[in-house]
């Protein structure tokens, strides 16, 4: 009987490889949660303004990795939904909107607009049923909305803290996480639609432009 001298070493390597694979597998198998959906047209009267909308890369491609001990991580991709829902709201908030590819620099100006709106994401957080002990997923997104003049000069900036909650159901974690994130974006869209001209700096700017919202809106 002949014996392969390499066999023990090979067996050890295989065992080591298997252990490494088992150790890294939970981290490697990421669960992707693409968030998609649309926002209904808000029941608001459009302000007679032409507004440029600028979404930076961090906003358009926003995603967040949710990691919990002994669980495969989630990656929530919510950038596309952000842009889609905000677009629908902005379209109805202003008489005309136009997408701006980049912010004006070095004395440049964006022609044909009264102002430029730029929403930014500052923070995204998730609460899982394990975190809260409750049967729901919750997502919160902290936005900061910037309003600039066509030449990039500062007009206003204010935070929007949005929140969404979705009931947990067995084997439907992905759907619940997606729904909670979508509801958080929808919550932000609702805040934007109705609270835009509640901001003091915005009010002052609207006053200077001679723009007044209809009473009761």
């Amino acid at each position: 009987m002949t014996r392969n001298p390499l066999a023990p070493a090979c067996g050890r390597s295989l065992a080591a490889g298997f252990i490494i694979l088992v150790a890294i597998a939970p981290g490697a198998c990421v669960r992707t949660v693409p968030v998609y959906g649309s926002a209904p047209a808000p029941l608001v009267e459009a302000l007679p303004l032409d507004v440029g909308i600028f979404y930076n890369t961090g906003f358009r491609d926003a995603s967040h990795r949710v990691e919990r001990p002994r669980e495969r991580p989630w990656v929530v991709e919510f950038g596309a939904a952000n842009a889609e829902l905000f677009d629908e709201v902005f379209r109805n908030m202003f008489e005309r909107t136009v997408h701006i590819e980049k912010m004006p620099e070095g004395g440049g100006t964006v022609p044909g607009v009264d102002a430029i709106l730029e929403p930014r994401i500052e923070e995204y957080a998730v609460l899982t049923p394990d975190d809260s002990g409750q049967k729901y997923y919750a997502a919160s997104i902290k936005y900061r909305i910037h309003l600039f003049a066509p030449d990039g000069g500062f007009i206003a900036s204010w935070p929007v803290n949005a929140y969404g909650k979705s009931q947990w159901r067995a084997f439907r974690d992905k759907q619940a996480l997606r729904q909670a994130s979508l509801l958080a974006i929808r919550d932000a869209a609702a805040a934007l639609a109705l609270e835009f001209d509640d901001q003091q700096q915005v009010q002052a700017w609207l006053h200077d432009k001679g723009v007044l919202r209809a009473q009761g809106n």
Partner: protein, 236 residues
């Protein structure tokens, strides 16, 4: 003929088993009326749940059960979908902006386009449902063992559940609160291990849903009913 008899026997056996395996539930429904109601054929009802940060949200299954119960039986009501209603009136019924009291209705209806949109939906009553079902106590123990020769479970597990829900009814035609109805149901479920585990389930949520829906239907259809009504019924 023989097949039909066998089918009837199976049905009877099924009903008997369901009756036997259904735990006892005590339901208590109370009503508080603030104004007269009534609903016409072309008017609809929408059931809404609150999803605020802090509030306990009624389960989707509960509101679906209520909707089904309201839409069937004698004098069925027309139900409007919650999602369509919220979308049509976006953003006024979103969690952060939804009115928390019926006193805010006149102001809400004063916003441009809101009253017109509500008229389009034909919704006359908004029913806000809050509450939930929770396990308040549990105990017992059961052991199961299996081998090649067979196996079985021995012991007894039990848990007590309490379903507590409240419906606040707002009238959009005569803007204001129409009243409140609350339903509480409690019952104890058992799983007895007698070789085979035998579950005896007390369906408290179903009892609360049906009690609340039945009373809500009476409340909306009846013109001048007043006062408080208490119902205690075993389930099923």
């Amino acid at each position: 003929m023989h097949r039909e008899t066998e089918h009837n026997r199976l049905q009877l056996l099924g009903s008997a088993l369901a009756a036997l395996l259904g735990g006892c539930v005590t339901a208590d429904v109370e009503q508080f009326r603030q104004s007269g109601t009534g609903i016409e054929e072309n008017e609809a009802v929408v059931i809404l749940t609150r999803t605020d940060y802090s509030d306990e949200q009624a389960e989707v299954g509960f509101t679906k059960c209520m909707g089904d119960a309201l839409a069937r039986g004698q004098q069925p009501l027309t139900l409007h979908s919650q999602q369509e209603f919220m979308d049509g009136l976006f953003p006024y019924f979103e969690p952060r902006l939804a009115p928390t009291s019926a006193d805010a209705l006149p102001e809400l209806l004063g916003h441009p386009g809101v009253a017109e949109k509500i008229a389009e939906t034909s919704v006359r009553y908004v029913v806000w449902v809050d509450g939930g079902t929770e396990t308040v106590d549990q105990g017992g123990s059961m052991t199961c063992a299996f081998s090649l020769g067979g196996g079985g479970c021995f012991g007894l597990n039990w848990w007590e559940r309490d379903s507590s829900y409240e419906a606040s009814i707002w009238d959009l035609k005569n803007p204001g609160a129409a009243g409140n109805i609350s339903a509480d149901a409690s019952g104890t479920s058992y799983v007895a291990g007698l070789i085979v585990p035998i579950p005896i389930i007390a369906r408290t949520q179903k009892a609360a849903c049906e009690g609340l829906a039945q009373q809500l239907k009476k409340f909306l259809v009846a013109e001048d009913a007043t006062g408080q009504q208490r119902v205690a019924s075993p389930d099923p």
